[in-house]
């Protein structure tokens, strides 16, 4: 191991890349599981600020090294990480980014901080290489932006509305404290992908039992929309998302009075999280996908081969 090598852009590493996760809430824990399943990534650390976080114990059971020192545990290592996932809290992310930026690692931010470059893989996955801080927007953003971007490629919207409903059991404390950031970051991503500033975002938490499947309802107001064209655009976009989120389904797609109404639901699949928690599945699958793209890009770049023991 060449411990003296700093991981800067262009340094070529052997796979799998070393990953750390900040945050051991619902998102952080599921993310750690998904990273462990990836052939391109190795989850070397899960760190939180609360020693008693149940997610830390679960992460240890997964075989990850855990710490209650938060971002300091990431900085303290002699063996730097290639990728750091921030699944903590939108208000904590700016300080995390400030601490991590000098390390040169890729930062993948799952909080709705809005700090980094917004990434929705099915739409702008090809813009990643130049950015060191990638923001995954929000779970609702991951579900709605591909659909709304597709509709906007054909129709010019005058107003767009997105209503997300998540099962209360699938929404942890950090998200509950970050509702304003969630709404704003999702709104900004929708604005950027549709070209209209007239965007309203809403979030409901459902207490239903059995828990309601994660759902995102979109209203897209425009002129002269054709039901069949809208249907084709929506289903093509859904297919692109389904490539990495198999539980993504279109539940409604209608055009009434100048408004295309599209509702999608996301069932989580393939992990230990319950099927209703599609919100966790879609944002974490997107995060792992962009990290894997980065890993492959690193492997194909000319540069110093860094070998591992």
């Amino acid at each position: 191991m060449q411990a003296t090598t700093t991981p800067t852009t262009g340094v070529r590493r052997s796979r799998p890349l070393r990953a750390a996760v900040i945050g051991a809430g619902l998102i952080g824990l599921d993310l750690a599981m998904k990273i462990q399943r990836s052939a391109e990534l190795d989850c070397r650390l899960v760190t939180a600020r609360d020693e008693d976080a149940p997610g830390l114990r679960a992460a240890r059971d997964l075989g990850c090294r855990v710490s209650a020192d938060g971002v300091d545990a990431v900085l303290a290592t002699a063996d730097p990480y290639d990728i750091v996932f921030d699944a903590s809290n939108a208000t904590a992310h700016p300080a995390h980014w400030q601490a991590l930026e000098p390390l040169g690692c890729l930062v993948v931010d799952l909080t709705p901080s809005g700090v980094g470059h917004a990434v929705v893989p099915a739409v702008n996955g090809d813009t990643l290489p130049v950015h060191r801080n990638l923001n995954l927007v929000s779970c609702g953003g991951q579900a709605c932006v591909p659909i709304l971007h597709a509709l906007s490629s054909r129709y010019r919207p005058s107003y767009v509305e997105v209503v997300t409903t998540a099962a209360n059991l699938s929404v942890g404390r950090a998200t509950r404290l970050n509702l304003d950031e969630y709404l704003a970051t999702t709104r900004d991503a929708v604005r950027a992908s549709t070209g209209t500033s007239a965007v309203k975002t809403i979030l409901n938490l459902s207490p239903a039992r059995p828990p309601a499947t994660f759902r995102v309802a979109m209203s897209f107001q425009s002129e002269d929309m054709d039901q069949r064209v809208v249907g084709d655009l929506v289903h093509d976009a859904a297919d692109r998302v389904r490539a990495f989120v198999p539980g993504f389904r279109v539940r409604a797609c209608t055009v009434t009075d100048g408004v295309a109404f599209v509702a999608v639901e996301v069932e989580a699949s393939g992990d230990r999280i319950p099927s209703y928690a599609g919100n966790l599945d879609i944002i974490n699958s997107a995060a792992v996908l962009v990290a894997e793209q980065y890993a492959r890009q690193q492997a194909s770049l000319p540069g110093t081969e860094v070998t591992r023991r």
């Binding site: 709404l183 704003a184 809403i202 979030l203």
Partner: protein, 341 residues
């Protein structure tokens, strides 16, 4: 503020006519209507006059209906008419944000209520903290409170008081309660908190005034009422009935009866095509425990999809839909239509 023979009001009346009433008229009140009622309520010395979209600050949307006026215009209009009454606003986290609270504060709002579905009281933490830091009176209210046990409501209210709420309480958003249900719940909340307790009734099962009296007897000291019951579904607790009934029972409110009756007459004349009645659909809605504000949307969708609106209400109740989930109405109607084919 109280001019009723020096009596200290035992019950503080809170008047959401210009907020909850918006549900009854598709959020379509105009500026002159807001001003006229606010001035009338002010003359009657109603302690707090709340204004806004039916679902609160920032809620105007296709999902729950677009308001004719912006929040900004509504707050300006009412503020200009209040000399004695304080101005209230309502906000649901997930719908409105701290930006909306800032805007309301700039308009001189005196009291803001942060609402949450009854099982999700922790979402109020950040905005209650924001209001306290801003020095605005902050209340916290639990919606659809029939979906929780009395003990759960007590714990949720205790949590919100811990977040800084200066009054806490429950909305009977579906109009599902009978008086003994209210007694149990308010008693549990009184036992859990030291701050004043709020009750907000709906009249789907004809019990709103009786429920409010039960709440007062169990220790609630802030009671909501709307002129002519102007509000979602079958309407709210009828303000001009509630106040004299409380007075007769020995709970002074500080409100001038004749002026209050004048305000109610004005409301009937100026704000609504007709006072709310307990329609057949509203009875079903109350029995099913569905948010009263769904009424107009359910009726629209039922007519379009040719299904029985009563079936839609019962199915929404079965799915435990909460306020804000209006997008489910179409799904439910479609599935009922498919099932009937």
């Amino acid at each position: 503020m109280n001019e009723a023979a020096g009596d200290r009001p035992a019950v503080r009346i809170y008047d959401p006519t210009l907020r909850d009433g918006h549900h009854a008229v598709r959020h379509d009140l105009g500026e002159a209507q807001l001003r006229a009622y606010a001035a009338a309520a002010d003359r009657a010395r109603v302690p707090v006059v709340e204004v806004g979209h039916g679902n609160g600050l920032g809620a105007s949307s296709l999902q729950v209906g677009r308001a004719r006026l912006t929040d900004d215009v509504m707050l300006s209009a009412v503020r200009a008419e209040l000399r004695h009454s304080r101005m209230g606003a309502f906000m649901l986290p997930g719908w409105g944000t701290a930006d909306d609270l800032r805007m309301a504060i700039d308009h001189g709002v005196d009291v803001v209520r942060i609402g949450a579905h009854c099982t999700e009281s922790d979402v109020t933490e950040r905005h209650l903290g924001f209001l306290r830091d801003a020095g605005v009176e902050a209340h916290a209210t639990l919606l659809m409170s029939h979906m929780c046990t009395p003990a759960q409501l007590g714990r949720a209210c205790e949590q919100m008081a811990g977040f800084g709420a200066q009054a806490v309480g429950i909305f009977d958003s579906a109009g599902h309660f009978l008086p003994e249900d209210v007694t149990e719940r308010i008693s549990a909340i009184r036992g859990a908190v030291d701050v004043p307790v709020i009750f907000h009734g709906h009249n789907n099962l004809g019990s709103a005034v009786a429920n409010s009296i039960a709440a007062v007897r169990a220790g609630a000291t802030i009671i909501d009422g709307c002129a002519r019951g102007f509000g979602a579904g079958a309407g709210n607790t009828q303000l001009e009935v509630l106040v004299p009934v409380l007075e007769r029972l020995g709970y002074p409110t500080g409100i001038d009866l004749y002026r209050l009756l004048d305000a109610a007459d004005l409301a009937e004349r100026e704000l609504m095509p007709a006072p709310p009645t307990i329609s057949s659909e509203s009875i079903v809605s109350g029995l099913a425990g569905v948010f009263s504000g769904f009424r107009n949307r359910v009726l629209d969708v039922a007519a379009r999809e040719q299904v029985d609106p009563r079936d839609i209400f019962f199915e929404l109740g079965r799915r435990q839909a909460v306020a804000g989930q209006e997008d489910l109405i179409v799904d439910v109607a479609m599935s009922l239509r498919t099932a009937s084919l």
